[in-house]
Amino acid sequence: MIASEERLRKAGRVRAPDEIGWLGQMGLYLALAALTIFCLFPFAWIFCTALKTLGETFKLPPSWWPHQPTLENFVKIWTIQSFGRYFLNSLIISGVTTLLSIVLASLAGYGFSRFRLPGGRIAMVGVLAAQMFPGIVLLIPYFTLASRLQMLNTYPVLILAYTSFSLPFCVWMMKGFFDGIPTELDEAATIDGCSALGAFLRVVLPLSMPGVVATAIFSFLVAWNEFLFAVVLATRETMYVVTVGIALNIGQFRIQWNELMAGAVLATVPTIILYALLERHLVRGLSAGAVKG
């Protein structure tokens, strides 16, 4: 896998010779400009709306730039609409989900990569196929079970669900990373007196940090963005997560768009930070599978 990545990178640098004149160059830059506007305008627009006063939000024609920019919407939504609480709930749930996913997925990925297990191949396919079920199929029995165990409106019930959503992909990804690390390394560690767990923790895992990072981002985003399970399993107002807080606002009769957009901006802050820091790893982890065939 390391070898194929190298090939990929080289191939990326030396592309097919493209003979395009200045007209082609112009077209290229126009297309890039269009792409940039297409991708960024909606985000710029919610940011712009979030800084507007209520009066300006309802003004026609819409102003492209807030005339009296204000942070009042952020303050309001954070305190009066208790977005602070939703934010905290989302952070706790996503954070613990991320930790659990890293631990479970790297252990399982190592198990599938290094041990010939009875039925291991079937289990790997089963893990993958687990992603296909629609949420509602899982949700009805899970809801009934949680309600019988008095677990509705608790963190663990959502953390467990989100961990299971992120695991299939993360297990496959971690297995892919471990497959690329020579088994001679584990063998050497074992001969030096490491247990199987020791060889994994001290030798193989430190070499797989890009996989761990990709697992972390992926599972955090799965948990942070989820909506269906959150809206059914956490119905008490103090247990709302950010997505639920936003969605319930939109159902109101007269929507305070500027406040709602402030909520939207806040909801994307952790995501933006993660992407900015770690985009490279995620893209590599995600695209590793598709070019292999």
Partner: protein, 313 residues
């Protein structure tokens, strides 16, 4: 996804359990057979997946044969729920909408994703920056995307109707009140949200195409469109199949965008199977009937998954 398991392709790991071979990296003392050590690594994940996925799937199957009379009373009714589904016009309308939503979204993702991937594969300055920019739509929570586009498509105050009016198109377009516009508006939103996955996957596949193939084609006198047809597309085949199948699965079971943007309205014009099953289960509390819907959805998805798994194994 990676195709081969190292343990089956590398003979350096002893395959037979329990029998010590030279270089067998068993834990010292060797009290545990090797397969048990491996199982211990895998077990926690399987336990989680069993609780949240395997058990509920089985239970939904059972529940689909029951009728929920009250909170604690369920009665076995055989296939009555399925018989009711066949005669339920709402169900068939939702089925049709689910298929329209899925086909529209997948086609949009692939066409737009391919166009952007081809653009980013050109010799352009700041490629990493543009790659991040084209990922932006994908990093929003679907709920946030739903709200953003609801605002931009608002009939009176929305920026899109304002721009359309500037272009001379007579409006205002009532995107979410008009039964013919609502589903296309949601599909367009979903195309914007989901195309980056196709883009990064196709871009990786494009960059893996050996340039010798283009050189050979050029030597043979192939024009740029011919090179695209006979070199680029065949090399993208595998990635395209993967994207199409995965995307079909994801969109057929998509819930968030539609629930938040229209809640299935107006007059059921955007009601898909997931939103309908949500209403039946968590608003009407007819768990048995909703479970039957879920089983039908799962069968459709199972067929798609079989295609996918057979392609990658």
């Amino acid at each position: 996804m990676p195709r081969s398991t190292r343990s089956s392709s590398k003979p350096s790991i002893p395959a037979v359990t329990g029998i010590p071979t030279p270089g067998d990296p068993r834990p010292r003392g060797g009290r545990w057979p090797r397969w048990l050590v491996g199982f211990a690594f895998v077990a926690p994940s399987l336990l989680v997946l069993g609780t949240v996925i395997a058990f509920p799937v089985m239970d939904t199957l059972r529940l689909s044969l029951m009728e929920t009379r009250s909170k604690d009373q369920t009665v076995f009714v055989g296939l009555a729920n399925y018989a009711r589904l066949i005669q339920d016009a709402e169900f068939w309308s939702a089925f049709k909408n689910s298929i329209s939503f899925t086909i529209g979204s997948v086609l949009g993702h692939i066409l737009l994703g391919l166009a952007v991937a081809l653009l980013l594969n050109q010799r352009i300055p700041f490629r990493p920056v543009f790659r991040i920019i084209s990922l932006v739509p994908w990093m929003f929570a679907p709920v946030v995307v739903a709200m953003t586009w609801r605002w931009m498509l608002d009939a009176q105050l929305g920026v899109i109707n304002f721009l359309l009016a500037r272009l001379g198109l007579s409006g205002p377009f009532l995107w979410f009140e008009n039964t013919r516009l609502a589903l296309p508006a949601i599909i367009a939103t979903n195309v914007w949200r989901g195309f980056p996955f196709a883009t990064i996957t196709l871009l990786a596949a494009l960059q893996a195409i050996p340039k010798e193939q283009y050189e050979a084609a050029a030597v043979d006198g192939a024009s740029a469109p011919m090179q695209f047809r006979f070199v680029t597309l065949p090399n993208l085949r595998f990635a395209l199949i993967i994207i199409a199948t995965l995307d079909t699965i994801w969109n057929f079971k998509h819930f968030d965008l539609i629930q938040v943007m229209t809640n299935g309205g107006p007059a059921g014009a955007t009601e898909v199977l997931t939103t309908l099953a949500y209403k039946v289960s968590f608003e009407n509390f007819e768990f048995g009937y909703a479970a039957a819907m879920g089983v039908v959805m799962s069968l459709v998805l199972l067929a798609t998954t079989v295609v996918y798994v057979r392609r990658i194994l």
